[in-house]
Symmetry: C2
Subunit: 359 residues, 2 copies
């Protein structure tokens, strides 16, 4: 990330200040701009000027910060942190802040230490910059997706009657981390049978039995970049209805995904899955956006829905329609793709064309 | 959590509105107030009135929300979400919001849908309520700490020459999840040798060799409640210096921890470890707060430091001094305790009195 690129279209902004709060208010843009791999960086800041990017961290993360090769200033207290930032901002009158991540109270702190500054919300600029991936980000996304895809076969081999959802989740996380993930990119979702009807189900003690759907929604984090993939298999022999549901979701997923290329409207990609599913007896059984951006966050900007947004080259997005039937189960298929001029690169491995039966 | 308890001391507030943003702006208070176990609940809200608590969620998390037994309203769009909230807030003029978690942009959205409301920051009330744990929270914290402590011996058995930090981290996460954790409560820190000098080191390909410190800072999440424990062992035979450093950190940790009881000042607990370490040749080698609250967040309110705060019965906190020597290594020992009237209950298992040598 070249410092000057982020100022495109916001000429009036002199400097940009990103400030983290506690663990529930860490702005991932801090990592986007600093490239720092490890650490938490609670209470840390970064100031972006046109000619440089400088990090402001506490002593306990000094070594981690310096390993990034970026400029680093170290504070020993909150007061010193404020002083260092005030000095770096200097006489800049227009200061950009990320109001979609900054908390109201942290903004008050910033206003106090920079009483003469005028603040400009640069969240849209940051979203737009983060949306288009550079070569280094793309290689991290590829790696996160590779790690995730490679372990799927192992997770199918692990299935046996009576195992719990939580056991499969533990095993998948272990396989991802053994395969190079720094951690899971989000809490692994494992749904057996009727639990597959809950899109955000948390694994529990439900035991696997013959005839169950096995829906796994999981992903690896690699150098902070996320993968997010969903596969649905069947333990035992599938019924015609189970096969049919899979088939419809597969068609919807492929239909939406194959529309993806530079210039297409995300709304149309979203609509395609609804069109396919709502033309069947499962009308109304898809009730979430069909995809989202992916990057430093699993659910990164933008979200697919009914709003217009133009998909651009080098955006990374997921495509994940599903059919959910309360009390019965469900199917979701999700892949991560990198948008190309005239199509897309599939980052995750291709989903099975037909419902896999694991016997 | 009884709805009325949270209004203590803020009689002027009619209703409290907690609103989540995207995955980087989820307010853990949503889970504190709803008791919901699974799900993400991006964009969801909760409204607390004196006589009831009501959740506002999107369709994809309806089943997960209803499983909590709390009142639930389901929105099919952002517009409908706004309408439902506006209706629930009704003619209330003083609306409490959590400004230490709410983003500036989300606050603007709230102001727009409630143009006549006056907003009151209730973040301190929420912090104070969340700080004191009720019996159900205590049992979850005990369970998270038990899961974490039990796997430590296995992690020592796993040590052998040449394994990577990342492998040990993967193994520990697997053991925690197999032992009942829903996920790790934070990214597992594993440091071999000189890497132990970085408090927030991220595991990498560094291979274990004889004479290395093995510092592991890890914890389980159970029903969203966190454990956070650190142990330092030695692979091979320890030198006198390594034993001495461990001994000083152990004394500091026990010194701070044994001060803990209802009514003591957290500043004094923090000071105790500094006093012990700074009286040795390792003066200045501890440079972070000696502990913090623990609950729905790993780093929950409050943080131990130089500010006054009175420790109260049923608070849960960690105690974790360390000595860090760049290029050489370090030792940290961390336990989770529940504050009692006249002392504390150790939630994690007792740390070894002497540096364990693994041969």
């Amino acid at each position: 990330m070249a410092a000057k690129d982020i100022f495109k279209g916001i000429d009036q902004v002199d400097k940009i200040l990103i400030r983290n709060g506690g663990e529930n208010a860490i702005d991932k843009s801090f990592f986007y701009l600093s490239g720092v791999d490890g650490g938490l960086f609670e209470g840390s800041s970064i100031v972006v000027s046109r000619d440089r990017i400088k990090m402001f961290v506490y002593q306990l993360e000094e070594q981690t910060a310096r390993a990034s090769g970026k400029e680093v200033a170290v504070a020993r207290s909150q007061a010193e942190m404020s002083e260092l930032i005030t000095k770096e901002i200097g006489k800049s009158s227009n200061v950009g802040v990320n109001m979609s991540s900054l908390t109201v109270n942290m903004f008050e702190v910033i206003k106090k230490i920079l009483p003469n500054a005028k603040f400009v919300d640069v969240s849209k600029n940051i979203d737009n910059a983060r949306m288009i991936k550079d070569p280094s980000e793309i290689s991290k996304l590829r790696e996160a997706a590779r790690i995730s895809s490679e372990i799927y076969e192992k997770s199918l081999d692990y299935l046996k009657e009576g195992i719990k959802e939580t056991e499969l989740a533990a095993y998948m996380v272990y396989q991802m981390m053994s395969n190079g993930a720094s951690e899971p990119s989000f809490t692994t979702i494992v749904c057996f049978g009727e639990n597959a009807s809950e899109p955000h189900h948390s694994p529990n003690n439900r035991k696997l039995k013959k005839g169950d759907f096995v829906l796994t929604d999981y992903g690896a984090a690699f150098s902070r970049y996320c993968a997010d993939t969903t596969r649905t298999a069947l333990f035992g022999r599938a019924t015609e209805k189970q096969k049919e549901i899979y088939d419809i979701v597969y068609k919807a997923q492929q239909g939406s995904m194959h529309m993806i290329r530079d210039g297409v409207n995300g709304k149309d990609v979203n609509h395609k899955s609804y069109e396919i599913i709502d033309a069947t007896e499962y009308k109304g059984k898809l009730m979430h956006g069909v995809g989202h951006g992916i990057g430093l966050e699993v659910h990164d900007h933008p979200a697919f829905g009914n709003a217009d947004f133009i998909i651009r080259k080098n955006m990374a997005v997921t495509v994940e329609p599903g059919i959910y039937i309360p009390g019965y189960g469900g199917v979701r298929i999700e892949d991560d793709v990198l948008v190309k001029e005239d199509g897309f690169e599939l980052l995750t491995s291709a989903p099975p064309k037909e419902l896999i039966e694991v016997n």
